[in-house]
């Protein structure tokens, strides 16, 4: 055998060997593949947005992705970095889609541009780009826009099932004080805009106070039939946040591909349910029942796609749990007692700022850690 092989025995040439530290093999996963998987998990949500809000949703997503990617390239050009370098990893694509999912389907292109500037430049690049940003870029953009352009950001279009037939559920959207007020302000053009369940709930308490009357009115927007519609996504709101069903599908994909820590969605949603449930139990006139809080607004989207952002959430499982619980409490407090109907983006930004502190508290102990081991040297 050796005789035969000696004829064409080939041996490695020493000069071409690469010197590098161990380990010499790596997992297949790269930043790019992770980001593409996240985009994949977002597809059901995007599909639901297009289904409920029509091609307008696609238009908004297109603008957001276009501006985010473009602005990233512009920044890289002026910062002297390779222009395509950071676009290739796909993180900008994720930010762009996420930003669009946080906007109404009626958003005009220049709002998307502003959102892109806020997300990519202010939210990410000023801190040094991917991995350095303390705040979730999409949340920065959403909050920035909400404060700067409250009217544009709260002009909601009705979802597909709402204009078709005015059943008791969607009637509520058109007969509440909120709607009347919007009409007075000239914002409602022939049923082309509508309110979100959360803003209805807030207007209810503002107009009626925290009494029995409010509790009675809550039943109008918080009943099993309405829940079912909310779950499907048949309500006003951001194009990506309405359909809990689609978000759950995407969330299951994220969990199955091990892209997010399960602690964040579970503890976040759990805390919101417990907190709002407790408040509703004690003072039924203050806030609707917990299921209403879970299914409306941006909670689901945030729990699976926004709060779980790797860069801006704690790195340890314990930290993630603490982060999610505090996030839940903060979201409820803003929703129930705050000035804005929705508190998800605000609470994410606030908690992002606390991540370094949480990581200090939730630091894991090394294997075999003992207090006495702090004694230097060992053996």
């Amino acid at each position: 055998m050796t005789q035969d092989s000696k004829v064409q025995l080939m041996l490695p040439k020493g000069e071409e060997l690469l010197l590098s530290p161990s380990p010499h093999i790596h997992d297949k996963e790269s930043i790019q593949s992770i980001m593409l998987k996240v985009v994949l998990a977002m597809l059901p949500v995007v599909a639901a947005g297009v289904y409920f809000f029509g091609l307008d949703a696609l238009r908004v997503i297109g603008w957001c992705v276009f501006f985010c990617v473009g602005l990233e390239m512009v920044w890289c050009f002026f910062a002297g970095k390779p222009v395509l370098g950071t676009v290739k990893d796909g993180s900008t694509l994720v930010t762009g889609i996420l930003l669009a999912l946080n906007l109404s389907a009626a958003t005009s292109w220049w709002v998307c541009l502003l959102g892109g500037i806020l997300a990519i430049w202010l939210g990410k690049q000023v801190f040094g780009g991917l991995g350095q940003n303390p705040f979730n870029p999409a949340a920065v953009a959403r909050v920035g826009l909400l404060i700067a352009l409250p009217r544009e950001l709260t002009t909601w279009v009705p979802a597909r099932g709402m204009t078709a037939d005015l059943n008791s559920y969607s009637k509520a959207f058109y007969t509440t004080p909120d709607f009347t007020r919007l009409q007075e302000a000239g914002q409602v053009v022939d049923g082309m805009t509508c309110a979100t369940p959360l803003s209805l709930a807030q207007t209810t308490t503002k107009v009626l106070g925290h009494g029995e009357q409010a509790a009675y009115n809550f039943a109008e927007i918080a009943n099993p039939e309405a829940y079912w519609q909310y779950f499907l996504g048949n309500m006003g709101g951001c194009l990506g946040e309405t359909s809990a069903l689609a978000i759950l599908a995407g969330g299951v994909m994220l969990l199955a591909m091990k892209l997010i820590r399960w602690q964040i969605p579970v503890f976040y949603i759990g805390t919101v349910a417990l907190f709002s449930g407790l408040v509703n139990l004690l003072w039924p006139g203050v806030t609707p029942p917990p299921l209403f809080h879970l299914l409306t607004g941006g909670l689901m989207l945030a729990a699976f796609f926004m709060a779980t952002d790797m860069v801006t959430s704690p790195i340890t499982p314990k930290g993630a749990a603490i982060f999610a619980v505090m996030l839940g409490i903060m979201t409820c407090v803003i929703r129930i007692w705050g000035g804005f109907p929705e508190g998800v983006s605000f609470s994410i930004l606030l908690m992002n700022a606390l991540v370094p502190l949480i990581e200090k508290i939730a630091a894991i102990k090394p294997f075999g850690f003992r207090k006495a081991a702090a004694v230097k040297g060992g053996a």
Binding site: L17, L18, L19, S20
Partner: protein
Amino acid sequence: MGSTIFLSAVVLIGIGLILGAAIGVVYKFFEVPVDPRVELLLELLPGVNCGGCGRAGCADFARALIGGEAAPAKCPVASQEVVAQLAQVLGVEIGRAAKQVAVILCGGDLTHAKGQMLYNGVDDCISASQVAGGPKGCRYGCLGMGSCARACPFEAIGIVNGLAVVHNEYCVGCGKCVDVCPRGLVKLVPVDAKVHIYCKSPEKAPAKMKVCDIPCIGCRKCVKAADEGQFTVNGFLVEVNYGDYPRPDVIEKAKCPKNCLQTCRGHEEFEYGKSIGESA
């Protein structure tokens, strides 16, 4: 409306007055006496906190000066005039002034050092030397990853074609680069010693020639050209005796066959890209 503005102004001014008074009181009664000379010395000292004097920064050095624990000349950065001024403030002798600069004793840049390997990892000399001894063929040579350049607070070290080179006009001899070199190539030498042998490999000449074009091969031509004791021979390596260093004219006389005997100026300007004989 007017009253609101008025009230705010009054409140703010009031707070300001009260806090100002408090600060004044604290300043007056809780003052820690500081030797006024510390301030004076700090103004004279370079203020870069390089640690070259062996103290934790200039303020610490100033205190040490006043305490008589250090001599003014211990500051490697300060010029002679500044040292004289320091001594004047303190009313002491200047102390032993031995101005030093750093020199990196290797000439093996990418053109001249052979046996380069592909390397993939952290760009840092210690890290690179941990991976199979680093990418350079010579195990004693400069790795060229710039750990010394990063350590230098005066940006006096540059990486030229994969070789760390000290720019003498910026080097103050603080010695920060000496410890970071995993190869121990950085040496602090008297500023007037202008001639160096840019090789520190104690290997046998044939082994050195295998990995480098310009090693010291121990031919002793320089030893013969110079006065007794100006060079020390150590096996296959000749070293400059920095206690009694040779004059620059030794280079002309010695005709080092490998061009590793150089002045620091010559080393800086040596066109390492060219083949031997064309320059120097």
